[in-house]
């Protein structure tokens, strides 16, 4: 039981401390234990590369970031909407069951060539589609489960009001599902980023983080590769912070009886 004030501080300090500890261990491994730089470059070298290639990294960051963001938004919206349909009609739920299970396991290596063929290797759409599919799955799966979490009594209440499907959805089902949706989006945010990035290995316009990670790694320019990886992590961080803010907003609006 911590006071809200200390909690707010800890929320920021704790992850930073963990990050610093990891960084310290890393630096220790590289400079004291002496792991070869082509296996694991040190934070300092990576920082140096980041500095040297700042513009290049930034450019790549935006390209991948845009794809990831578009994929995340589109995939999440489709995920929530389809989950809503599933909750509304069990037939839809049943019919989507296999399809979603299938989508969930088709890896990017398999999807990328297919979608590149479909959308054209000269456009970013294939990658956005990949990011969207990757984001869609956790949002859909969590939301479907969340939409079932209304309590029997609340369902009875809405039934007694003869509330329409949409009304029940809006007033009861969606608020009950909100924490689940958020959990889904939290998972989706990192998946969208990594998918948008990895999709770049397998075709499409060059320019994103993934392209340059692979190119750099292929010639053992690992410090440079890691500079792009760090950019990918920062991209993930941005996505994470956005979902945390989203969660805050939702939690503020819809406090649950959850334990502390």
């Amino acid at each position: 039981m911590t006071s809200p004030a200390t909690e707010r501080v800890l929320r920021v300090v704790a992850p930073v401390v963990v990050g610093l500890v990891v960084l310290a261990i890393w630096q220790y491994l590289v400079s004291v234990v002496g792991v070869a730089p082509y296996l694991l470059p040190g934070p300092r070298e990576i920082g140096q590369e980041l500095q040297d290639n700042a513009d290049a990294v930034r450019e790549a960051f935006w390209i991948t970031g845009r794809n990831a963001a578009l994929g995340l938004v589109f995939g999440s919206v489709v995920g929530v909407v389809l989950a809503g349909l599933s909750a509304w009609a069990r037939v839809v739920d049943g019919m989507l069951a296999f399809v979603v299970a299938s989508l969930a396991v088709v890896p990017i290596v398999a999807l990328a060539p297919v979608l590149n063929s479909m959308y054209g290797a000269d456009s970013q759409y294939g990658r956005r589609a990949i990011a969207a599919i990757a984001a869609f799955v956790p949002v859909y799966v969590n939301t479907v489960r969340g939409l079932r979490q209304t309590t029997p009594q609340h369902r009875d209440l809405m039934h007694s009001y003869s509330a329409s499907g949409w009304q029940t959805f809006r007033s009861l089902t969606l608020p009950s599902a909100a924490p689940f949706v958020i959990t889904g989006i939290r998972v989706a945010s990192s998946l969208a980023v990594i998918s948008a990035l990895v999709a770049e290995y397998f075709g499409g316009p060059r320019g994103g983080l993934g392209s340059f990670i692979s190119t750099s790694a292929a010639t053992s320019a690992y410090a440079r590769a890691w500079a792009y990886v760090v950019a990918a992590i920062v991209l993930g961080l941005v996505a994470y912070v956005v979902t945390v803010l989203l969660e805050r907003i939702v939690q503020h609006r819809l406090p649950t009886g959850g334990a502390r």
Binding site: Y38, L39, E59, P113, F202, G203, T215, A218, T219, S220
Partner: protein, 361 residues
């Protein structure tokens, strides 16, 4: 995602003090099993390694495995890799030596449609140029640099594992290996005719004919280990068997293809045969003997590598590689020891004609 154990300060993984000098040898390929590596598979299959007392395990790569890194990390004793990529790695602090330059010529093409008007590297300007990435793009940048084009004057599009992007018009000129992707094109039905695509449907630019040409499949070893006489001895034995393997593949193309399929290649028989044949063309005739590094070709590769700048302004290498980066001693010794046992030059090598079938099956 990090953390290290042992394996301290050795610049060369298993190198340094304790190189593997036993007769159990690991060879790291630079891709999945296919006839591009037919000579090594043949050497195993025909017992050439065994004859030298060696027990050789061939390890495929692809994906995220970089052969020269696997070698440097001590996961293998020898590795097949393209010279420009290894030059990049050497500049990053890996000490590796090219001990046999198996491919004497570059097998990389840039293919465009016959009506595209792209006949030379100079025509790339403003076009969508395909490349696999993973370091395969440096040859393009080098050739463009020689024509005075910088990387930003084209749009580089990453190709995936097949030629669909090119066939559907997403790419104006696609990267293709003579032995593989080019064959894939000729195995595909042309929707306009219903027949397979024909060579005259395409313009083919061979990097071998450009200033960008770079040396490709070479055998690499840890530089430090080459100071160990026992390692050197074993290396020479290894190279002898390799040479015999490639000579066999030259003289028995069909059998070499079959051996490769048996070794785990998943290509269809006609494609495999095509690949074996085209690979031979990159090796034979070998004027100085198979594997001997031609100074001029090496210098051109180094120059190209230094000239190439990618679209983010990054260089492959910025300075000349150290003298240890290649060494003909071992392959020459191997050729020497083989004497007349095998034809190591293939002066009167004649390629065969391979007919491709739909899908390569």
């Amino acid at each position: 995602a990090c953390g290290g154990d042992g394996d301290d300060d050795k610049a060369g993984g298993s190198g340094g003090g304790d190189c593997n000098t036993s007769n159990d040898v690991k060879l790291q390929l630079q891709w999945l099993p296919q006839a591009q590596f037919a000579g090594y598979f043949a050497a195993v299959d025909q017992g050439f390694f065994e004859d030298e007392g060696l027990n050789v395990e061939i390890i495929p790569s692809g994906g995220d495995i970089v052969p020269q890194d696997a070698l440097a990390a001590g996961d293998a004793d020898y590795a097949i890799a393209w010279v420009p990529k290894v030059l990049g790695s050497i500049e990053q602090g890996v000490d590796l030596t090219n001990i046999a330059q198996i491919f004497q010529r570059s097998g990389t093409l840039q293919v465009s449609m016959a009506d595209s008007g792209i006949d030379s590297v100079a025509d790339f300007e403003g076009k969508k140029i395909g490349s696999w990435g993973f370091g395969n793009e440096w040859e393009i940048f080098a050739a463009m640099a020689a024509e005075g084009l910088d990387a930003e004057s084209v749009e580089i599009v990453t190709q995936d594992f097949n030629m669909n992007a090119f066939l559907q018009g997403d790419i104006d000129a696609a990267q293709a290996m003579t032995y593989n992707e080019y064959a894939q094109l000729l195995e595909t039905p042309n929707p306009d005719t219903g027949e397979l695509y024909q060579p005259d449907d395409f313009n083919v630019i061979s990097y071998q004919d450009t200033k960008g040409a770079m040396l490709q499949d070479a055998i690499w070893a840890d530089t430090a280990c080459l100071k160990d006489p026992a390692f050197v001895d074993r290396t020479v034995k290894f190279l002898k068997a390799v040479v015999k393997g490639w000579a066999y593949a030259r003289d028995n193309v069909q059998k070499a293809a079959d051996i490769t399929v048996a070794a785990g290649s998943s290509w269809g028989p006609s494609h495999e045969l095509w690949m074996a044949n085209e690979t031979n063309k990159l090796i034979w005739p070998a004027d100085n003997g198979i594997g001997v590094i031609d100074q001029a070709a090496w210098d051109q590769t180094v120059e190209g590598a230094m000239a190439a700048v990618n679209e983010q302004g990054q260089h492959l290498i910025t300075k000349k590689p150290p003298a240890t980066a290649y060494d003909n001693t071992y392959i020459e010794k191997a050729i020497d020891e083989l004497g007349d046992e095998v034809d190591t030059k293939g002066a009167d090598y004649k390629p065969m004609d391979v007919e491709l079938t739909e899908g390569g099956n």
